[in-house]
């Protein structure tokens, strides 16, 4: 009996020792040092419960789930094993999200297009305004030349000169006047069109500014945090409203 009780006692003692050893092992912690890129804006959710941005963590040993995220970056869902009494240096570099890359390409294309639309019409308008002024001056000179020849016809007493005026110089002057009138109308039309285009595009550019980037990864990152509580698990959701717009 005493032997049996001794065996039971030994067994209980071993069991207690095993339990105490397990307890000691469960209490062991390790340290994680993060080197995060982009620095300053990267945050993470630890084990689906805690949203943090600390660069140094003291955790119980064993695997831990991390979901890293930074604005405009793709989420990184990974598991890090913490060694008891040890230190793990973890370098995390988040890549740009596909949505952000697509948005940035689209924004760059829109910027180039908007730059053309914004700056080309005013440049054309200024150029055509100069052309209008030059055309007015040329047209006025051609009109003066025509009038001078008409006046010379009326005052000349030289038959050969009169013949030259009528056969050659007046037709040339009339042709020049017609050409300068065409040039004036053309440059005036270009000026009118470019002026209208300038005002229209300026008005449209104000109303049609490039839409800001909507970070869907952020919605996913912030949207769902699972928090198992003693009373029951909770899914936490959040909503971001950009007030700067």
């Amino acid at each position: 009996m005493s032997r049996i009780s001794g065996i039971v006692g030994l067994t209980l003692g071993c069991v207690l020792m095993v339990f105490s050893t397990m307890d000691l092992r469960a209490q062991s912690t390790g340290r994680i040092l993060f080197d995060l890129s982009p620095a300053g804006t990267t945050s993470y959710v630890l084990d689906g419960k805690y949203r943090m941005s600390d660069r140094q963590l003291e955790l119980m040993e064993g695997p831990h789930r991390f979901v890293f995220w930074a604005p405009e970056r793709r989420m990184l869902d990974t598991t890090i094993v913490v060694l008891g009494g040890g230190q793990v240096d973890v370098r995390i570099e988040l890549r740009y999200s596909e949505e952000y890359i697509a948005w940035r390409r689209s924004a760059e294309r829109a910027n180039v297009r908007n730059a053309w639309l914004r700056y080309a019409p005013p440049v054309i308008m200024a150029g055509s305004a100069v052309m209008v002024v030059l055309s007015v001056m040329k047209h006025e000179q051609a009109f003066k030349d025509l009038n001078a020849l008409t006046g010379e016809y009326r005052s000349s007493v030289d038959p050969a000169r009169i013949t030259a005026i009528k056969r050659e110089e007046l037709p040339d002057a009339k042709s020049t006047l017609a050409k300068t009138r065409t040039g004036l109308i053309a440059s005036g039309s270009v000026f009118a069109l470019s002026t209208a285009a300038t005002f229209y595009l300026r008005h449209r550019a104000r109303a049609d500014a490039t839409a800001p980037f909507e970070d869907k990864e952020r919605v996913r990152f912030e949207g769902l945090v699972y928090a198992p509580l003693p009373q029951g698990a909770v899914w936490g959701a959040s909503l971001s409203i950009p007030l700067a717009r």
Partner: protein
């Protein structure tokens, strides 16, 4: 708003600057010095008479003078007082000469023929001239 007005002002200036060409070359025929002149005759006969000149060593020579007037009142106002000549061609003989007025500033010209043809009409082709180019020719005929 001020900047919006500027292009409009420039447009209006451009529109107002558009000049109309109302010169019709074919209708420029009112200058008497023009070959294409279509107005009334500018020459009129004054008279014709015989002139006798005594040339030493040769003797007396008779010539026929034909006096005519240019209607300078039919000139354009801008041509008033400007000097000119008259091209004269005797139709029968073909002889031609550029004449100056009989007196400076006068509109009267005198053409002297070397022959005298009493009772026979003498026709002359006259044209206003300058710098050896002549305008529309007209014909006058006189009989001594």
């Amino acid at each position: 708003m001020k900047y919006n007005l500027l292009p409009m002002v420039l447009m209006v200036v451009a529109l107002l600057a558009c000049r109309k060409d109302d010169v019709v070359i074919d209708q420029l025929t009112n200058n008497p010095f023009d070959v294409d002149y279509t107005g009334a005759s500018v020459f009129e006969v004054v008279d014709t008479y015989m002139v006798t000149e005594n040339i030493p060593g040769v003797g007396a020579i008779s010539r026929q003078a034909i006096r005519f007037r240019v209607r300078s009142d039919r000139f354009l106002p801008e041509q008033s007082g400007l000097p000119y000549q008259v091209f004269v061609r005797e139709i029968a003989s073909g002889g031609a000469v550029y004449l100056d007025p009989s007196a400076p500033g006068s509109d009267v010209f005198i053409f002297l023929r070397n022959q005298v043809s009493p009772g026979i009409p003498v026709c002359l082709e006259l044209a206003l001239a300058n710098n050896f180019s002549s305008a529309r020719p007209e014909t006058i005929c006189v009989t001594l």
